[in-house]
């Protein structure tokens, strides 16, 4: 009996003593943090994608809590409501809404369009393949299909399509954080305005070779012929270095350039299906996107 009492007393005493010590240290060394920070952080996705330009979600929450105005503070992966809630917590005016962005791949060099010319035998890393040679598909500018961007994406929006051999971007999942843009050794991914209902027109090619050479390399390569420039009524297209580029701020989605492109390298996605001009050899999965809407 004595033994039981003694052990209970010792253990209980130890427990109480520890609790007191813990309580004192917690009080003494507690860091006062703006309670808003924790509240805001709760709302954020916690993916630390860096799309806001800060070092992760906590940093963004701190910035929001301490900011005098919310302009310029935008989390690309949050919905409008979330941003509104953050505005509510901070008691500041809601920031001017930022047009949602989405990543697009400037390459359509699928297995059909751009057959394999050599075998790459090494680790699945675009950076390594890119440093060795122009890539198994014989285009020094196009997608290598090893998936460095897929690894960089925190939202599961990118995947290598095993049928086409190039990367595909899921518009629904993509939040436009831009992690993939930096991951691509060939700078093929660009953030563009998502457009109404996700409709957008872009040049799916990055080939800067002269026409004759570019034609040999890929069936849908841009040769910089300039037909699209002539047909565009909004001055949205420029050709430089044998490559056309569409300015997404100026583009009015009229799709005239898509129709006129002799190489089918201008792609229009997410347009209503009856009007969609599906280019020959274009990724079939694009059709599925349209049907989903």
């Amino acid at each position: 009996m004595e033994l039981v009492v003694l052990s209970v007393a010792i253990l209980g005493g130890l427990g109480i003593a520890s609790a007191v010590i813990l309580f004192i240290t917690a009080k003494r060394f507690s860091i006062k943090e703006n309670p808003k920070i924790a509240e805001i952080e709760e709302l954020l996705p916690g993916a630390n994608c860096g799309g806001c330009g800060r070092n992760g979600c906590h940093d963004f929450a701190v910035a929001c809590a301490e900011a005098k105005t919310l302009d310029g503070l935008h989390c690309p992966s949050c919905k409008e409501e979330t941003m509104a809630k953050i505005a509510e917590i901070t008691g500041l005016a809601k920031a001017v809404s930022v047009k949602p962005k989405v990543a697009v791949l400037h390459c359509n060099g699928t297995c059909d369009n751009r057959p394999r010319k050599s075998y790459y035998d090494g680790p699945m890393s675009c950076h390594i393949e890119n440093s060795l040679y122009l890539g198994a598909r014989g285009c020094a500018y196009g997608c290598l299909g090893c998936g460095d961007c897929v690894d960089a994406c925190r939202f599961g929006a990118l995947a290598i399509n095993t049928r086409t051999g190039i990367v595909e971007i899921d518009t629904e999942k993509c939040v436009g954080c831009g992690a993939c843009v930096g991951a691509c050794p060939r700078h093929l991914i660009e953030l563009r305005n998502k457009g109404p209902k996700g409709m957008r027109v872009y040049v799916a090619c990055a080939n800067r070779d002269k026409g004759a050479l570019a034609m040999k390399e890929c069936r849908v390569s841009c040769i910089g012929c300039g037909k699209c420039v002539k047909v565009c009524t909004h001055d949205a297209i420029v050709v430089g270095d044998n490559l056309a580029a569409i300015d997404f701020e100026k583009c009015k989605l009229c799709k005239k350039c898509v129709a006129v492109c002799p190489r089918n390298s201008i792609v229009a996605v997410n347009f209503p299906i009856q009007k969609a001009i599906m280019a020959e050899g274009q990724i079939r999965e694009e059709v599925n996107y349209v049907e989903n809407i």
């Binding site: 394999r116 010319k117 050599s118 075998y119 790459y120 035998d121 090494g122 390594i128 060795l132 040679y133 198994a136």
Partner: protein, 323 residues
């Protein structure tokens, strides 16, 4: 050339003929003399133990890879066979099958796959299995059949204490140990401890085939010899009795759990030797090789960090790279 697709990869474009598989099966071959001798010495019991242990380890590895881990099946690379063989070498020949299977499960499941499979384990699986059994079943694990006595029997083999056990109990004085008998295999003990000649043959094979280097075995043996000489025991008695040879040649040299650099290997070996002798002289157990190796396995990552190779062009005091 358009029809011909060339293969492109980064340099180097040549590769050694060494493979993991080759090295693993090399160890198995090196163990064969000891295995054969143990069967010769213990007869039926040895056969049962070895078969159970090897089959058990291979099956458990297969099942774990197939149903738990997934990925490519690598049972054929021989690492499970080595674990099984080494485990068997560390067991007495009259151990019941169910205990052996528990040992296999601990060795492969806990020792290897709990850490992430081949190359990820911190502790040598076979030793982990043996030590687990030694602690869980001390009775069965320390009754050693006497070699050449009851070769036809398995569980009911005639047993006796080992040299080290008798020395621990002060029944046997180090001066009276039959060294020649220990050398060729007259002494009781676990399967692999019986014949020093067979183990040394295997070790020679491993070193000649460059599967292991001399650093770990030699540093263990020298440390054990020096330590026992200082303690007033004939160094040969310490070397030839118990598991020093088996441990230093086959167990401590396991790639995964031993240090990377030469200096690290020597430190590791010396420490194993010291710990072994400390356990033997002052510990509760008569034998300490397994414990010593296990303890040093735990220190291997630390040794790897502190015993780095010296960089080319690095001068003393010129540690620009560390800033």
């Amino acid at each position: 050339m358009d029809d011909k697709r060339l293969i492109v990869s980064g340099s180097p474009h040549m590769h050694t003929k060494d493979t993991v598989k080759g090295k693993m099966w090399g160890v198995v071959v090196a163990l064969l003399p000891a295995v054969i001798f143990s069967v010769y010495a213990f007869g039926l019991g040895a056969l049962v133990v070895i078969f159970t242990s090897v089959l058990g380890c291979v099956m458990i590895e297969y099942l774990i890879q197939r149903y738990l881990v997934g990925g490519k099946l690598t049972v054929t690379n021989g690492s499970a066979v080595i674990t099984g063989l080494l485990l068997a070498m560390n067991l007495p020949s009259n151990l019941p099958i169910w205990i052996i299977l528990i040992g296999c499960l601990v060795a492969i499941g806990l020792g290897k796959y709990a850490f992430g499979g081949l190359g990820q384990n911190i502790f040598n699986p076979a030793i982990l299995g043996r030590v687990f059994l030694l602690i869980s079943f001390p009775q069965q694990m320390t009754t050693w059949p006497v070699p050449f006595v009851s070769r036809g029997s398995y569980l009911d083999a005639a047993t006796g204490a080992t040299v080290l056990g008798r020395m621990k109990m002060n029944e046997l004085m180090p001066e009276n140990v039959d060294l020649m008998g220990s050398f060729i295999g007259q002494m009781g003990g676990s399967l692999g401890e019986v014949s020093a000649v067979a183990l040394l043959l295997g070790g020679l094979f491993l070193i000649v085939r460059r599967i292991i280097t001399w650093h770990i075995p030699l540093s263990i043996m020298i440390t054990v010899s020096v330590f026992s000489w200082l303690a007033g025991i004939n160094p040969l008695v310490s070397l030839l009795s118990g598991g020093v040879l088996l441990g230093s040649i086959f167990m401590a040299t396991d790639y995964v759990t031993s240090p990377m650099t030469r200096n690290g290997m020597i430190l590791y070996g010396v420490m194993i030797g010291v710990i072994t002798m400390v356990i033997r002289l002052w510990g509760a157990y008569p034998e300490g090789v397994s414990f010593a190796i296990l303890i040093m396995n735990g220190f291997t990552p630390l040794i790897n960090v502190y015993m780095r190779p010296k960089r080319f062009g690095e001068r003393r005091g010129n540690k620009v790279w560390r800033k």
